[in-house]
């Protein structure tokens, strides 16, 4: 099966990501006690080979927090934070980034932000979905993103990535936020939103 998406479909997915990241930013703002801005999400349907470089340089070091989505729609939510921004986020929460508390604090940020995103998706689509517990890794961006893409790459030649940014106001600190749904489920999701190909 070759999976392609029309502009109308990508618009609908972008809107979905927009609402989801709106909820996520509210959750992050509550956690940090600071205002958080969201960017307009980018919805890309790309050949697998091009997906990593669309997100960032493959060898750049990042911390990734990954939550699986299970239930009627399968996929992953991934938060990516640069090492500098990881230090800032941890400082907002009063912990050292390179202590064991640091990684667990970032995991908790990922958990709360990712879960509110997934809950927003569930509320909008009526899908019965829930997040799996967060897993964190600090490594090459390519290795983190490719591993998440690979989990949903079977049976489709297109990687669908919805990319938003959450920026902590006035602090030059941002989180890149990816939703990588399994291809088959996306057609069903679009169907529920009343969007045909």
């Amino acid at each position: 099966m070759s999976t392609h998406f029309s502009d109308v479909q990508l618009d609908a997915l972008r809107e979905l990501a927009n609402i989801g990241s709106g909820m996520a930013s509210t959750a992050l703002s509550g956690m940090l006690g600071r205002p958080v801005d969201i960017s307009v999400p980018v919805a890309s349907a790309l050949p697998l080979a091009e997906a990593v470089e669309a997100i960032g340089p493959a060898e750049q070091e990042v911390t990734g927090v990954m939550l699986g989505i299970i239930g009627e729609l399968k996929g992953s939510v991934v938060l990516l934070v640069s090492p500098e921004d990881a230090v800032k986020l941890c400082a907002f929460l009063g912990v050292e980034a390179d202590s064991e508390w640091g990684l667990s604090a970032l995991g908790e940020i990922g958990n709360i932000v990712g879960t509110s995103y997934i809950n927003a998706l569930a509320a909008m689509t009526g899908f019965e979905i829930e997040p799996t517990p967060p897993a964190t890794a600090t490594d090459m961006l390519g290795a983190i993103v490719a591993t998440c893409l690979a989990e949903h790459a079977d049976g489709t030649d297109i990687a669908l990535v919805l990319d938003s940014d959450l920026a902590v106001e006035g602090d030059d600190c941002s989180i890149s936020f990816l939703l990588i749904p399994q291809a088959g489920g996306v057609q069903e999701l679009l169907g529920r939103l009343g969007i045909e190909a």
């Binding site: 050949p47 890794a137 490594d139 290795a143 983190i144 591993t147």
Partner: protein, 167 residues
């Protein structure tokens, strides 16, 4: 020197001493190098999954069971001798420890090894498993293969081929 990139599901093949074949940021994926150091021909495949049904627009080496024989054909077409090929495997990590038992990396390595065994190509060096991502490089100048972790130095996996010395 030019770097030929093998991105997810893609491969690179060369018989040019100026080239370096590169697989950047391998996580659960496997970078499979097939090297004929005497003929100075090598190929690098960026294998994503162990097996499955290829989609219409899929790149050729996405799946191990199709990708390994495909890479063999490509290096032979460039002048490699099958008898002399050596395989090096890099990647197959478990970046995120998951409870659902979906260890894509381990399955990828097993599938690539199985395909190589069928083709009777020996695996001469590996840097696989664990929790860390890696970058693999194949230097056509002398046939050496290296692996690198995030922020770390390049480690030699397959030694340079001594030109002029009989194998």
């Amino acid at each position: 020197m030019s770097e030929l990139m093998a991105r997810m599901g893609e491969y690179a093949v060369s018989a040019d001493r100026d080239d370096v074949l590169v697989g950047l940021g391998l996580g659960s994926c496997i970078g499979l190098a097939l090297v004929d150091r005497r003929s100075n021909v090598a190929g690098l495949a960026h294998v994503v999954l162990s097996k499955g049904e290829p989609a219409a627009g899929d790149p050729p080496v996405k799946y191990a069971h199709i990708g390994v024989p495909y890479l063999l054909e490509q290096v032979v077409a460039q002048g490699a001798r099958k008898m002399r090929l050596e395989a090096v495997l890099v990647g197959g990590a478990s970046m995120f420890v998951s409870k659902n038992g979906l260890e894509v990396g381990q399955r990828n390595e097993a599938a690539v090894r199985e395909a190589l065994e069928k083709l009777r190509i020996p695996v001469v060096a590996v840097d696989t498993g664990g929790k860390r991502g890696r970058t693999v490089r194949v230097y056509m100048a002398d046939g050496r293969v290296t692996s690198r972790l995030a922020g770390g130095p390049e480690e030699l996996l397959l030694k340079p081929y001594a030109v002029g010395v009989a194998a």
